[in-house]
């Protein structure tokens, strides 16, 4: 595997601190207000890996869009390294829940999108191939997205973001469509990448095991409008093992926080 190492110039940027302060958000749908986030607050330390866990439709994707700067919260503030986020920036990148590759571009061209948009494609073209290699799509570099499977498209979307060497990686169920084997490989890759490049990581997932395997802290949300109903710190060294007694304890604790202890 190839390391997508940050160039030295970027190193100083690495690992954004994210501060979410009393963020509330709502959508207006057919004249009615749909409250989605309710006074959400948390802080992510530079270089930390946290997971957001919550029921479907509670507002997790919405929160990631706000942190990415695609939308502005109705109330509250979101800061990156103490600076208020007012718009999107290539240092904060979001791997969308839906891969949405551009159908008119080949996989390689899709992955090259960010470098192209920022005029870096000439100097850093090799990063595109490295990223494709990393997600195991080198053989499919020159096909169009309509020839990819759902899981391959998700991996391409991941490569499209990784190639830009972000300081904050926002992952919206990026491994949701992968089979369990590929999923485990990609989890390990993601972890290795995060350890090497030292970016801050916020992962939205439905998978309790995935949250426990990857993150240092899990933030649990309520039903919509999402409130933070609990935080579980995962004080385990990497790599983690599912049958580790501490892992099992933490899983029970996490399920209890989610109100699912009877599931055990």
């Amino acid at each position: 595997m190839v390391a997508l190492a940050p160039s030295s110039a970027d190193a100083a940027l690495h690992g954004l601190k994210v501060q979410v302060r009393n963020v509330s958000h709502a959508f207006d749908t057919n004249g009615e207000q749909l409250d989605v986030l309710d006074e959400v607050s948390f802080t992510v330390q530079p270089g930390a890996f946290i997971s957001l866990l919550g029921p479907s439709g509670c507002g997790k994707s919405t929160l990631l869009r706000l942190i990415a700067g695609l939308d502005e919260p109705r109330e509250g503030k979101i800061g990156a390294n103490g600076v208020r986020i007012v718009g999107p920036d290539p240092s904060r990148l979001l791997v969308f829940q839906d891969p949405t590759l551009y159908p008119w571009r080949t996989v390689r061209q899709n992955v090259a999108l960010g470098l192209e948009a920022r005029g870096l494609i000439r100097e850093q073209a090799h990063r595109v191939d490295e990223a494709l290699d990393l997600v195991g799509l080198s053989a499919f570099a020159d096909v169009f997205p309509n020839q990819l499977s759902g899981g391959m498209a998700q991996r391409a979307a991941l490569a499209r973001v990784l190639v830009n060497n972000p300081s904050l990686l926002l992952l919206d169920e990026p491994l949701g469509r992968l089979d369990s084997l590929t999923r485990m490989t990609m989890q390990a890759e993601l972890l290795r990448l995060w350890q090497d490049a030292a970016f801050t990581s916020i992962l939205v997932t439905h998978d309790v095991e995935e949250a426990l395997l990857l993150s240092q802290q899990v933030i649990v949300f309520s039903h919509r409008p999402a409130r933070v109903i609990g935080t579980v710190d995962i004080d385990l060294p990497y790599p983690r093992h599912r049958d580790d007694p501490r892992f099992v304890t933490l899983r029970r604790e996490l399920l209890a926080t989610m109100g699912l202890e009877h599931q055990l």
Partner: protein, 346 residues
């Protein structure tokens, strides 16, 4: 074509996985193969028969190009038979045999036409000229026809390209910018449905020459559908495409040229296709009404002399010319939209 394999899960034995076979060849496979290998030589023989009818059966009133017609028909016949004999294994024969039935039908059709006109006179002149009289048009009036084709193309192509460019630019601006949309879209909605030919009298009055007036009208008739379809294409690009590019650091220029336009391109080509169709109509009307050159004018001239063979001859040329232009447009589109499959075929 082979039939899909039927798998019966209740009585799953290995034999269930074999194709439904009769006498070694699947039923419709036999028909397809017959068609492929027999239709072309049969069509060739039909063309030879058509040649024999043309040559051996005397015309009611002697036509000067009957011999030429017979020679051409014989040529097609020999070509088809020869291709079946000598090219049967070449890929080109696949294409020929694809249209084998058409070749045969054409031979029959032309023979019927020949018999009903030149040979028996059942269909009367001057409205029903025989095939050889149309050949006569092509051999004896070739210079005027070529000149007319050249005039038509020199009028059509600049007007069409200009209109396509203006329509595309207008469409992108209207689709992208809210303020351009506010002012431009109502104009498009209000003026656009007017057929460009309705402007003809005014355009001929305002423009210094009929040529420039016609160019303007062709451009107008092209620009409208291109603008409407481009702007709707641009404004319906899913916002997810923009979100992705924006997070990756794209500026407005990148969003327009690398996201909005490629996403709207299929729509643009539909507009260009519709524009091409209406530009043909405007071209012919403009040539009939004032330009005094080109195929439209040729039609009118032929009508004035009751030269129906010339009329039909010109119609055939126009059909060939215009369908080739549409094929060219579709070829360009297929090249530019390789990523997209299964759109309107031509």
């Amino acid at each position: 074509m082979n039939k899909p394999v039927q798998v019966q899960t209740d009585t799953a034995t290995p034999t269930d996985f074999t194709l439904p076979v009769e006498g070694g060849v699947p039923a419709d496979g036999l028909v397809a193969r017959l068609r492929e290998h027999v239709s072309v030589p049969v069509a060739g023989l039909l063309w030879l028969g058509a040649a024999a009818v043309s040559a051996a059966w005397p015309d009611q009133t002697a036509w000067s190009r009957t011999t030429l017609l017979a020679i051409l028909q014989a040529g097609v016949g020999i070509g088809l038979v020869g291709s079946a004999l000598f090219l049967a294994r070449r890929p080109v024969f696949k294409v020929i045999s694809e249209y084998g039935l058409w070749f045969g039908a054409l031979a029959v059709l032309i023979t019927a036409w020949e018999v009903l006109t030149a040979k028996t006179g059942i269909l009367p002149l001057p409205f029903f000229p025989p095939p050889q009289s149309i050949l006569e048009v092509y051999t004896d009036d070739v210079s005027r026809l070529l000149e007319s084709i050249a005039h038509s193309m020199l009028l059509l192509l600049p007007g069409y390209l200009l209109g396509g460019l203006v329509g595309f630019t207008a469409g992108v601006s209207i689709g992208w910018s809210k303020s351009v949309h506010y002012w431009g879209y109502p104009i498009l909605r209000f003026v656009g449905p007017l057929p460009a030919t309705a402007w003809l009298p005014i355009a001929f009055f305002f423009f210094p020459s009929t040529f420039s007036a016609a160019t303007f009208l062709i451009a107008l008739s092209t620009a409208f559908p291109v603008a409407v379809l481009t702007s709707s294409g641009i404004s319906t690009v899913t916002s997810a495409y923009y979100d992705i590019a924006r997070t990756l650091g794209a500026d407005t220029r990148f969003l327009i040229t690398k996201v909005a336009i490629p996403a709207a391109l299929p729509n643009v080509f539909v507009g260009l296709f519709m524009g091409l169709g209406s530009s043909f109509a405007v071209l012919i009307v403009a040539e009939m009404m004032g330009v005094k050159a080109g195929l439209g004018w040729y039609l009118q001239w032929a009508q004035g002399w009751a030269a129906y063979a010339n009329l039909y001859g010109a119609l055939i040329i126009m059909a060939l010319l215009f369908s080739s232009l549409i094929s060219l447009l579709f070829y360009v589109r297929d090249r530019m939209l390789v990523w997209q499959k299964g759109i309107v075929r031509w």
